[in-house]
């Protein structure tokens, strides 16, 4: 559905040095996939998205959406896009903004009212629908951005830092929303700094740094996400240590335990508890994605 083939992009400022923002980036994303892209600030995520939507032409290589050049695809089918940099005229009102963007998105006049109401309902903008954009908080504005991306039944959805500015409640609801948007013929592309969010939502996560693809991490399931945990025990410290190959006591009294997966963790805990350890807390310390991210992205 989305193909980056050897894509590169160099910026040539009038003054100053040229900047290679993306270099030899290749990635194929199939229909039905939810793919994340993670990287530090300035890694090239937003440039990649700009090329994917045809806002920017690659200096090298090619981007294709359903086999077409990005601008041709977008002008024909449209893409549900939530940009990282939210900008709409401040005097527009929430409902009016959604109506006009819905019209532009090709929502038929007969269904526009329902589409706008549905989008408002989905992102909880009911109490803000008559407010002007300049009166919205950062998080509410972000939800408006999300609402406009969902107005049209698009086969490609692109979310750039979707939970930036959202409170924990709406960050969690965003995950539910994306779960509800999954469809065999739909591709969802999420760029985010939030590795936990990507790990929960995506089938694969591409990690980029300095414009280059460092690695692609397949997320096999939430149960296998973490590889290290912080464990606290009321007593029986030695019994805990005896049942894990990698077990290290931290300064605050917690144990940092590494296990291959969730099953290995449970087996070790069961053995320790049977032996008399009293476990009071088990918290994931570092997910496999986070671990891979740390390995791939070095300062």
């Amino acid at each position: 559905m989305i193909a980056f083939r050897g894509v590169g992009r160099t910026y040539h400022p009038l003054l100053g040095k040229r900047v290679r923002a993306v270099d030899d980036f290749s990635l194929e994303v199939a229909a039905g996939e939810v793919v994340g892209i993670a990287g530090p600030n300035g890694a090239g995520k937003t440039t990649l998205i700009a090329m994917m939507l045809g806002f920017l032409a690659p200096s090298d290589g090619a981007v294709r959406l359903d086999g077409q050049a990005p601008r041709a695809y977008v002008e024909r089918h449209g893409v549900g896009y939530l940009p990282e940099l939210m900008a709409l005229p401040p005097f527009w009102r929430v409902e009016g903004a959604l109506r006009r963007l819905g019209t532009l998105a090709g929502v038929p006049a007969a269904g526009l009212e329902a589409a706008v109401n549905d989008a408002i309902e989905r992102v909880g903008l009911g109490e803000h629908r008559r407010k002007s954009i300049k009166a919205l908080s950062k998080g509410t504005f972000q939800r408006l951005g999300l609402a406009q991306a969902l107005l049209r039944d698009s086969r490609v959805l692109v979310f750039d830092e979707p939970t930036h500015g959202l409170d924990p409640v709406w960050s969690s609801r965003f995950r539910d929303l994306v779960d509800g948007l999954r469809r065999p013929d739909r591709t969802i592309f999420i760029a985010s700094h939030n590795l936990d969010e990507l790990e929960r939502l995506c089938h694969r996560v591409a990690i980029i740094d300095h414009g280059r693809l460092q690695r692609i991490v397949s997320i096999s399931g939430a149960g296998q996400a973490a590889t290290a945990w912080l464990i606290r025990v009321a007593d029986g410290d030695s019994r805990l240590a005896a049942h894990f190959a990698s077990c290290e006591r931290l300064a605050d009294g917690a144990w940092l335990v590494r296990a291959a997966n969730n099953d290995a963790l449970n087996a070790g805990l069961a053995a320790a508890i049977t032996a008399g350890a009293r476990v009071t807390a088990v918290v994931p310390h570092e997910s496999s994605l986070e671990h891979q991210f740390r390995e791939a992205v070095r300062p």
Binding site: F55, L56, R76, G78, P83, L85, A87, F91, T103, L104
Partner: protein, 250 residues
């Protein structure tokens, strides 16, 4: 009617509203101010019965209309088209607008037409208001003069807007440069480069000639009309080509 054309028709409503409330809010205020000042200026003569049908009255009303339009039309066109493309680019509105199934040139062509309609309507309203207070004015001629000014100056502005972020300033420089060049050029020797330069500059002299003719309800020279239409149309076409070919994210 196709799905696409009905969508455009639906969106034109929003373009017109933007044009009225956003772009032309200031020109509207300027128009209202100019009309009010015109009323105040001619008020002493208005009390004389039959003045507005006398030769003096007809001459005065024509002068008042011309003065008001001389100030209004260039300002309205400049304010109406300044930043049309560059503001969307600079402020990032393009990310929302053009992730929708919308051809970029068509979007700006429709916006440009909506602004033209509003500018012409405002100029015609002004002429009608001055005509109501004094003596009937050539509203159609004023509308034509405004439309032609919009095609020429508005075409040039939108071209600069598609290419740079300094469109307003560039248009003012080119416009003033053109006026100065046309004043100086006749005094230059044959073969001077300025004779060649004025040929490629906007045909402001032809626009001025047509405006004079329209305000006086006289016919205009067709070659003047075609020159202005061709120049402005070419600028608009180049602008639409630029928004099609140049990256939006820059």
């Amino acid at each position: 009617m196709t799905d696409r054309s009905s969508r455009w028709l639906a969106y034109v409503r929003w373009q017109l509203l933007d044009s009225l409330w956003q772009r032309f809010a200031l020109p509207f205020a300027i128009a209202a101010m100019l009309v009010v000042f015109t009323f105040i200026a001619v008020r002493p003569q208005s009390v004389t019965p039959g003045f507005w049908t006398s030769p003096d009255g007809l001459r005065l009303s024509a002068i008042e209309l011309k003065q008001a339009m001389m100030m209004f039309i260039p300002l309205a066109v400049l304010l109406g088209t300044n930043g049309m493309v560059s503001q969307d680019r600079q402020k990032g509105h393009y990310r929302f607008l053009f992730s929708k199934p919308v051809p970029v040139p068509a979007f700006y062509a429709v916006a440009w037409l909506a602004h033209l309609v509003v500018a012409v309507a405002l100029a015609a309203l002004m002429a009608a208001a001055i005509g109501w207070y004094t003596t009937p004015q050539p509203v159609l001629g004023v509308a034509m003069a405004c439309a032609l000014s919009f095609v020429l100056l508005g075409g040039l502005t939108v071209l600069f807007s598609a290419l740079t972020n300094q469109d307003g300033a560039l248009v003012i420089v080119v416009w003033l440069g053109t006026l100065l060049a046309r004043q100086v050029e006749p005094a230059m020797d044959a073969g001077h480069w300025l004779h060649t330069a004025v040929r490629v500059l906007p045909p402001t002299h032809r626009l001025d000639a047509m405006r004079e003719a329209w305000y006086a309800s006289q016919p205009v020279a067709l070659h003047d009309l075609w020159h202005v239409l061709a120049y402005g149309g070419a600028c608009l076409a180049l602008a639409l080509l630029a928004v099609r070919k140049l990256p939006l994210a820059r």
